[in-house]
């Protein structure tokens, strides 16, 4: 039998030594070295006249920069939307048990994950060279509607297709992993209550899978935000293209790229906070 002694008894018994945690002098030394290096770098950048901080300030809120920023945000949101919706469909196809749908889903992922995104962007952009018109009609029969490919797939459209279709391939893997992470018993319980597979997926499985889907999707969104800068290859006026157009005239590359960096940092920060809130929302019922 072990008896817990009240505090004053412990004192009286002479076991009142103070506990001293282990010291970590190495950590302090390392922090100091890094701090000095950081101060040196910042000092060097701030005092360097070639950095032209006045130019950074002038262009931070300049109209073309803000317009480019808007374009970057629009592409990010729309391409992610395409990726999530199409990725969700591909994930459900993959898990459907229908061999045709499973095959299509696997083939899609394999194709779009194998080709560099930059190549896909250029491909959609130059598609009109081999396919001048796109029409809708009966296979091998009459065509009802026909449109010029260049009108149908604008620069903007090419950007969305290039980024969104590739994103769908990655999102389908993330969503599939999320759906598979929900224990089998959940779909069995739903089935035993007479729910169809579709209803069980929407009402029971997907809400639980969200907890596993949201964090990697946040990563994808952040990575998409940065990947939009690839549209510079098809001259779509996004944030990067806008600052490039400016420094092509005034040759102040670093100050203008600093402007772009500032906005990318801000947008990534906002997305990270949004991700935090989503995670909290979908963690409901799991933590007590």
């Amino acid at each position: 039998m072990v008896k817990t002694l009240p505090f004053r008894h412990a004192r009286a018994a002479g076991v009142d030594e103070v506990v001293v945690p282990r010291r970590h002098p190495g950590r302090w030394a390392l922090a100091l070295v890094l701090l000095v290096m950081a101060v040196m770098i910042v000092e060097g950048m701030v005092t360097n006249p070639a950095m032209r901080w006045d130019v950074v300030g002038d262009y931070l809120f300049a109209a073309p920069v803000l317009e480019g920023l808007g374009m970057t945000l629009r592409i990010t949101v729309l391409a992610m939307a395409i990726g999530i919706v199409l990725g969700g469909i591909l994930a459900v196809m993959r898990l459907s048990g229908n061999p045709v749908l499973v095959g299509v889903s696997i083939g899609y992922s394999a194709l779009f994950r194998s080709i560099p995104i930059l190549v896909q962007l250029l491909f959609w952009f130059f598609l009109s060279a081999v396919l001048p018109t796109i029409g809708l009609g009966i296979p091998f029969g009459p065509v009802f509607v026909e449109a010029d490919t260049n009108t149908l797939i604008s620069r903007f459209g090419a950007a969305l297709l290039g980024l969104g279709l590739a994103e769908a391939a990655y999102m389908s893997e993330i969503i599939r992993a999320g759906l598979l992470s929900v224990p089998r018993g959940q779909s069995e319980a739903a089935a035993a209550l007479g729910m169809s597979r579709g209803r069980a997926l929407r009402r029971i499985i997907l809400p639980q899978a969200m907890r596993f889907i949201v964090p990697p999707t946040g990563n994808q969104a952040i990575s998409m935000l940065k990947m939009t800068s690839l549209v510079i290859a098809i001259s779509l006026p996004d944030l990067l293209t806008s600052v490039q157009t400016i420094y092509a005239r005034n040759f102040l590359q670093i100050p203008l790229l600093t402007v772009a960096c500032f906005w990318y940092l801000v947008m990534t920060g906002v997305l990270s906070v949004g991700q935090l809130f989503l995670e909290r929302h979908f963690g409901k019922g799991v933590r007590v």
Binding site: G185, A189, A191, A192, G194, M195, I204, G285, V286
Partner: protein, 256 residues
Amino acid sequence: MTGDALVRAEAVTKSFGHVRALRGVDLEVHRGETVCLIGPSGSGKSTFLRCVNHLEKIDSGRLTVDGELVGYRRARGKLYELREREICRRRADIGMVFQNFNLFPHLTVLENVVEAPIHVRRERAADARARGRELLARVGLADKADAHPAQLSGGQQQRVAIARALAMRPTLMLFDEPTSALDPELVGEVLDVMRELVKDGMTMIVVTHEMAFARESADRVVFMADGTVVESGPPRELFAAPRHERTRAFLSKVLM
């Protein structure tokens, strides 16, 4: 042992790959009857139970619930697998309680209970919620309606699972080892709820290792081994004077 057979199984077989889980099960369960399936693990008790609501497809034989084939339709001398809608409609009338409760963790207790009545039966939300609260009161959990499953003990979770199944007004209740995952001191509260159902005349098939429950509450006890029914009879007879050596050996191990 009154009324006609609600569940009728004839020569039902089921294999998982090379493992023959059921090798010709014959069994009848009558309306209002409580049947306990007992037997060593791997004897096919749970598999048979899962066949009754088509969570597992049978390979051969005939299995009917309320006169309708489970999962199939007979036409021109062949059995055609049913469409999903039909399977769901029939499952909705059969309640099932699982060993691991399988409550929906993202929904509150009351939401768990009313989910299927509202979205499968298309009951009005207000009616379903009122009845859901009634059922929770019946299993002694009226005050837990707004809790999440993770906040409940195992015994409480299993009682919610029973209320959830009852909310669909089932004609048949299936229990798959409902107390096996519970701490010993929580088994009693779940068995109490099940005894109430027996009293109310619910038709029940219970796979269990609770011999005391089988002895007191079952109308009939069925002993299964190696995928077949070895023997069945009223609990008093089966426990006191088993006819088969297998039954005797099993009972001598579980009845101390």
